[in-house]
Symmetry: C2
């Protein structure tokens, strides 16, 4: 994730890394609540980006904002904080990202961290949980809860980033190494639309987006993050998404998957299928079965699901071209 933002205006920091890179010494918290001045905080322990100094972000210096996306698997919180610069100047406005596996823990966190909230404040929410938990959130936090349609918010956000963030989009080159894999290219703001938006949540939605306000769902599947975490939980000892990814990094999928060369002894020329192509995910597990290593299984699962996610939009793109 960090790698992906190297060429971006909006840089993502994980706090430990930020502290070592910038020799940051924890600033004291001194609340200027009710005086109208900024509430300076320590750098948060969650990943964050430092917002550019632009007029549209200035109100965030005076007033915190919190917003939630409550999906089928995770609750995602984004909120603003203000932080004193280590080397003088105006304070930085940070946009912080935190995820929870349940709404209760999330509300506790918001209560503890949204100090300047008053009853007129609005907690903006998207996702299915914004219907289910609206009353609970209002009672717990004492602020207004406003639902916004998930897909419209998503498209609005994409539009904002593509238009405002230089080099937001990149071409991926699998054969290259490290950062070379991501070939950034500034996008012409006049030629953003139409695009296909593949929304990876618990499941997958593929949207054809014709403008900021016109879109239709053209496809989707039940195999997204929910299947990755759910199957990962059943198949391995990993406790969460990050554990599972770390596990997969060490694995060799060729021990679980049947490759074209396992069936044909090489490539299958008549259909132009190379020998190292995965013919059948987990195909070898019907024999080696429960003796497969956890990391090989995690890698095979990651490839099965991520390849599958890439496939449906690929068909639509071929259709268009």
């Amino acid at each position: 994730m960090d790698e992906l933002l190297l060429n971006s205006n909006l840089r993502l920091y994980f706090s430990a890394q930020f502290i070592s890179e910038y020799n940051f010494i924890g600033a004291e918290i001194f609340a200027k609540l009710r005086t109208g001045g900024p509430i300076l905080r320590e750098k948060p322990t969650t990943p964050f980006i430092v917002l550019p100094e632009e007029a549209r972000f200035a109100p965030l210096v005076k007033k915190s904002r919190f917003a939630l996306d409550i999906g089928g698997t995770l609750v995602k919180l984004v909120y603003s904080t203000v932080c004193e610069r280590s080397i003088g100047g105006e304070p930085d406005v940070l946009l912080n990202f935190k995820k929870f596996t349940g709404i209760e823990a999330c509300l506790e966190f918001i209560k503890e961290n949204w100090h300047d909230r008053v009853s007129d404040d609005v907690l903006h929410c998207t996702g299915g949980g914004s219907f289910k938990y609206a009353e609970m959130m209002h009672k717990s936090l004492g602020v207004k809860v406003k639902r916004t349609d998930e897909m419209r918010s998503l498209i609005f956000g994409c539009d904002f980033l593509l238009k405002n963030n230089e080099d937001e989009s990149f071409t991926y080159h699998h054969e290259a190494v490290g950062i070379e894999r991501y070939q950034y290219k500034p996008i012409d703001t006049d030629s953003i639309y139409p695009f296909l938006l593949v929304n990876i949540g618990t499941g997958i939605s593929v949207l054809k987006v014709d403008s900021q306000s016109t879109f239709q769902r053209v496809g989707g599947s039940s195999m997204g993050g929910g299947a990755f975490i759910g199957l990962g939980h059943l198949l391995t000892s990993a406790q969460n998404f990050d554990d599972l990814l770390l596990m997969a990094e060490k694995g060799d999928h060729r021990k679980c998957d049947t490759l074209v060369c396992d069936i044909y002894g090489g490539s299958y020329e008549n259909l132009n299928l190379p020998g190292d192509l995965i013919a059948g995910s987990f195909g070898k597990c019907s024999r080696i079965g429960k003796h497969s290593s956890e990391s090989d299984i995690a890698k095979s699962l990651l490839l099965m699901i991520s390849n599958n996610i890439g496939q449906e939009p690929g068909v639509f793109i071929r259709k268009r071209s």
Copy 2:
């Protein structure tokens, strides 16, 4: 499988069922090898079809034929036998189907059952294993081994069945019950092509077939029978494909899968997604995890893989229409 052939000219029998239905008393095996007469055998213990009385099948009364498809997961054998009719008349020619998980067991079976084989006989083979095991098969059986391209054979076979077997194709109605689900309709032989052929093996290939000899692979995925059996083996105590299907029949996928109503409390109107649609396969397993029942897991796995198989061709069909 049997249900699907009820309206068909070619009826599939599982032997136990055949024996009870037709009150069949095992005919004595008396080999007429070298006399040119038919080699009468007992009804085999494998599933079979009785071939119609047609001139093109007559040579099979005189001479057995054996053919193999050696895939990445299973070895499939089809062979002819001749069987005395229980109620007089000409003997029946049976086409028998048997599957093996390894080539060795298959070759043993062929040796024991292909009595009239001579060195000029040809064992026709398709599949990746026809490359890997050609020499082994020749040495073991003492017959010639001839490879045929898998996809060409498949298309030839489809063409043959669609043209010769009345009501070979049907429309599936999920909401109906039992046999009513399959609405058979004879196919006009002039309008067979073009069609999409979804070949479900270890993995999936989607072929656009324009004629008996012209086709191209337009898609495919690594999630087919190999993934079903491999993951099924890792996740449950089922020992094989049939066990896994029986297990799935008793399961309730809603205990493993996250439905749209689990996220939204009902349907998601903005995207026209009904409440009982699977939003994320195995989405609930990240929480209930290893306490899920085996049959619920098997059902969820079956739906994940079969829905996924249906999806890609669906996109191509929408593309065409």
